[in-house]
Subunit: 483 residues, 2 copies
């Protein structure tokens, strides 16, 4: 590991008129903390202040509507009455830390419990004009509220993404070719720029790949990125999937775009390798540089370790790393890395309970947070947890296709947050494998023939680690066969 001084992750980055203190980005992430009224409330405020204290370079506030269409709980910037709340949020974030903060602004089409949803081909030209106008007005409000910039939501299943999509079935100037699919997003970008001026950063989030049948891939998205870069977008943040086309219909519920395969590719879980979406920003970055454009690119998707994040920058696959789930579980990740305390970061295990909460329209919190908390724990305690006098006494046993691990509970002056389980296969170096809230764990990710070794550490609310437990090894019986 490099010294913190030389880490690219900790280098500032100028984006238009805003200077990010480091390369960590909190991408827009639904919280379901907002009320039906669309105003900023205390829970929302607390959530983003928590990220600010953790010193993310850029905080993107969850999507907020540019228009007044009906929806479930959702923030709004759709008229001037909403500005005051946002002004308070931006101001408090600025007071709390050097983090920059931008809102993600969204337009969405109608969905019904029947499963019906409005398509871009249902919109009149007047509807299309309204979208341009509403985006411009909301961006102007974002500036008025004291935000450091604005991010245009052109990803997932929402209006501008649906225009960019190969599923855009319009047969006028707004569909039928890539150029036409780009038309409304470009008109929106131009109008937003007209409203906010040159010295207010405008970022765009869109899809590196739709991850649906007949959807677009980097073959198109690199051209889309090139267009936005040429038009002066200040940064480009790449997501993947999250579409209606493959969403799973539930009875008496509107389609929700993260329930299908494309939703899984948007928030890849344990069944995916780390960095599984990185090829998208990497190809787009390469393509822009080839065209002489150096628009900062945000990569996201299961960036699990500090070394991986640093390598993304080093390999010039992207300029910024978007960490949603890793910052949910530990908003202090950037600060801890800056202070050289990488080993105290609480790491995401990608079990996607947060994704599941969102799909079920419940408050999005991290499953690993101590019981009842709706914000990440906060602590500057420096006393690490201790094993009791007899040690951790880690024992492992293989039965019913799983390795069962048990150990003694650790003790701490504040409380135990989590146990991290480290694993080595076949004598390879130990890697953090999973986490547990209690002092037992089943490892189902094993196969016959695996020579496994484990140790566990306990962490308190600040992420301070106990000593490692003793190691415990087990050989999973080989599959038996005879020729």
């Amino acid at each position: 590991m490099k010294t913190t001084n030389s880490m690219l992750l900790l280098q500032p980055l100028q984006i238009g008129t805003m200077t990010l203190q480091n390369r960590f980005v909190l991408p827009a992430m639904v919280t379901r903390l907002s009320g039906e009224d669309g105003y900023i409330n205390k829970d929302i405020m607390d959530r983003y202040l928590r990220y600010a204290k953790g010193e993310s370079g850029l905080i993107v506030v969850e999507a907020m509507a540019v228009h007044s269409a009906k929806s479930g709980p959702l923030l709004r910037l759709s008229n001037d009455s909403f500005v005051a709340g946002h002004r308070e949020l931006a101001s408090r974030v600025h007071d709390a830390s050097p983090s920059k903060i931008v809102p993600q602004i969204i337009h969405f089409l109608k969905v019904a419990r029947s499963g019906w949803r409005q398509l871009v081909s249902d919109l009149s030209l007047d509807d299309v004009k309204s979208i341009v106008h509403d985006y411009g007005a909301a961006a102007a409000r974002a500036r008025e509220a004291g935000y450091d910039g604005v991010e245009l939501h052109m990803a997932h299943a929402y209006t501008l993404s649906s225009f960019l999509s190969t599923y855009n079935m319009r047969h006028d100037d707004y569909g039928g070719s890539l150029e036409n699919r780009l038309r409304l997003p470009c008109e929106v970008l131009a109008e937003v720029r007209r409203q906010v001026g040159k010295n207010f950063p405008v970022g765009i989030r869109f899809l590196g790949e739709e991850c649906i049948k007949d959807g677009f891939t980097v073959v198109d998205s690199k051209k889309i990125a090139l267009r936005f870069a040429k038009m002066g977008a200040d940064y480009i943040s790449l997501s993947a999937g999250g579409k209606f086309e493959d969403a799973v219909k539930k009875v008496n519920a509107p389609l929700y775009p993260y329930t299908g395969y494309s939703g899984e590719r948007c928030m890849p879980g344990r069944n995916y390798p780390d960095l599984c979406n990185l090829y998208m920003p990497a190809e787009i970055k390469r393509y822009l540089v080839m065209h002489g454009l150096h628009t900062p690119i945000v990569a996201a998707g299961k960036i699990s370790t500090t070394a991986q994040a640093e390598e993304i920058l080093e390999s010039q696959s992207a300029d910024l790393v978007g960490l949603a789930r890793p910052l949910l579980i530990d908003p202090d990740l950037p600060k801890k890395i800056k202070e050289g305390k990488d080993e105290t970061v609480i790491r995401c295990s990608y079990v996607n309970i947060c994704k599941n909460l969102d799909e079920n329209f419940k408050t999005v919190r991290c499953f690993y947070w101590p019981k009842g908390m709706i914000q990440a724990p906060e602590s500057d305690d420096e006393t690490p947890p201790q094993w009791n006098a007899s040690g951790a006494q880690l024992s492992v046993e293989y039965k019913h296709g799983k390795v069962s691990l048990t150990w003694n509970a650790a003790e701490d002056n504040e409380g135990i947050y989590i146990y991290d389980i480290y694993r080595s296969i076949e004598g390879q170096p130990f890697e953090r494998h999973h986490a547990s809230k209690s002092n037992h764990f089943y490892d189902t990710e094993v196969v016959g023939g695996d020579a496994l070794a484990y140790y566990v550490v306990a962490r308190d609310f600040a992420g301070n680690c106990s000593e490692k437990s003793e190691e415990a090894a087990i050989k999973i019986p080989e599959f038996e066969y005879s020729f």
Copy 2:
């Protein structure tokens, strides 16, 4: 480009007792040329002899059933009466060329027009035992027929793949954990080995990634590959997707596993970048080598150029290249490359008409083959096509979001097969972009701002090229916006 002598693609490879003359593999590809009776017929024979003449190192004959279950037209090796036909096929291929030939043997579960399909969890333990037995017996017949080896089909939507799948819902020893999902495939491999002995190559084709929600990815497939390699599989051939779980239901037709997103990932079309599935074999190869295993790996999935194929071997991402659609359009590809005539290869354009024919249960042929032919054209003519006295007169025009290209028809002593369209963007080198059967073409893959240049060449049945046409350039109007 290297000289042919130094090309890794042209180096022989020993696989158990069989020596491949080069690294080109024809993966099993449905032809729909077989009759309902399951016997080898003349059309089938012609199809594989055509590949043999083209000198692919390994020809894998389309999937044939190990059991006698009802199905549409499908080859069989399910009883001894089928052996004679296969013996003739293997023998004629060996007479025609040094190509090695192995059959892919398959077990599948029942599907009904209602949409019902049998699941692995519906099988009794006796059913499971029969599968093991039937695979062993069919493999023994493959050996008896004079094939050079046998390939076990564990990919896509068929029985053994469904056991490997995370969708295997059995709750006995054959499901519920990766080890249990592996059990039947391993029992089959062991039984096949018992039946054919050590000196008969046994390959396995399975999925690097299921490409369905909650499906497995390389996280599991590398462990699956490791198991097969440890058990002595002679080669591992990797495909992707092709599952029932996301297949599109049509009224009064059984589900067909290539109709959904995963089917698209199996045979990636023009919307995908070249080599889009290469990360799967590359990761698996790396993992096997890390474990000291050097089982040959076959990579497949939109390997479009000779340079790409060579680079796959050079980077040690795989040991063999599987070319299905590229060998369908031009079975002579390996021979032409060996003879240093790469420029005469007729290249696939990935428009996937072949995939579409298969989905509609029609004879699989290449859309670009001259009209009416059910086999690839064959010619050793050396006279290239000519433009007429006034030249090709290529003209380009941009309208309605497309570039319309027209040129004069070329002339040839035998006949014109195809026109190849080369394109350059923004002064980058020309690349083969697409193909046309007639002397006009619409390029829909353009976007405002593109500075494009084109030329075309005509090819005869042997792939001989005409002179390049003159170049024609066009600038697609920029998207207009003002701030």
